[in-house]
């Protein structure tokens, strides 16, 4: 299935990518599985995305966790803990 990925703040800078579309193999159907699949693509994904304690996620613009399901067409975002206000 095809999903859209967004990266923000230092994740965006260190990956050198703000947004990409990826085709996921069967079985990659949660945020946690997606992080594992992305890390397996090699650097810089492996290094950046394994800092899991410092990474937050959202699916279709709602905060998500590793167990959150993902479906074809979803917009999945990865970012650091929030520092606004």
């Amino acid at each position: 299935m095809v999903v859209r990925l967004l990266y923000f703040a230092w994740l965006r800078e260190r990956l050198g990518c703000a947004e990409e579309e990826v085709t996921l193999p069967a079985g990659v159907d949660t945020v946690g599985a997606l992080l594992g699949w992305l890390s397996a693509r090699g650097e810089p994904y492996r290094q950046v995305l394994t800092e899991t304690a410092r990474i937050r996620s959202a699916v279709n613009q709602d905060f998500a966790s590793d167990s959150s399901p993902i479906r074809a067409g979803d917009e999945i975002a990865f970012f650091p803990p929030i520092t606004g206000g």
């Binding site: 923000f8 613009q61 975002a77 606004g84 206000g85």
Partner: protein
């Protein structure tokens, strides 16, 4: 229904206050919070860049504003959060609330800024003298400030 604006434009407290009072009708109190870019001891900050997640930001703020309006029976509410590069001493965020009495207005303002800091997808980058820059780390104190509203 709260007024929400996210974007690079600066704001004027007087104008926003007048707009709030126009929307609120018969009220007894207004409260405000303005967040400002400050320098940090030992780190000569020259400016701050605010990045956000367009779409999700507005949704997240609308959700917390709706909760504040209900919980504190607000008559009106305005939230402005700037994005992009803001120089030191520049305004970052405005929370304005109007209610029948002071307690509701003051508490709603505090509730909103505490939640904005942990639940609206913004990220700050500090620009330092000499061209260095660094992303600001999230503060555990911000999480506990927001969490206290869950138990009360």
């Amino acid at each position: 229904m709260a007024f929400i604006r996210v974007g690079p434009e600066d704001f004027d407290l007087g104008q926003e206050m007048a707009a709030l009072r126009g929307e609120a009708g018969d009220i007894g109190a207004v409260a405000s919070f303005i967040g400002i870019v400050r320098g940090a001891a030992g780190a000569p900050i020259t400016a701050m860049t605010l990045e956000h997640y367009p779409g999700m930001t507005e949704r997240a703020i609308a959700r917390m504003a709706a909760e504040a309006e209900m919980r504190f029976a607000l008559s009106a509410c305005r939230i402005i959060h700037r994005t992009g590069c803001i120089p030191i001493a520049g305004q970052i965020v405005l929370v304005l609330t109007a209610a029948g009495h002071r307690k509701a207005a003051l508490e709603a303002t505090s509730f909103l800024i505490d939640w904005l800091k942990v639940a609206a997808p913004f990220w700050k980058k500090e620009h330092l003298a000499g061209g260095m820059e660094r992303w600001v780390d999230a503060q555990a104190a911000d999480d506990s400030a927001a969490a206290r509203w869950q138990s009360s």
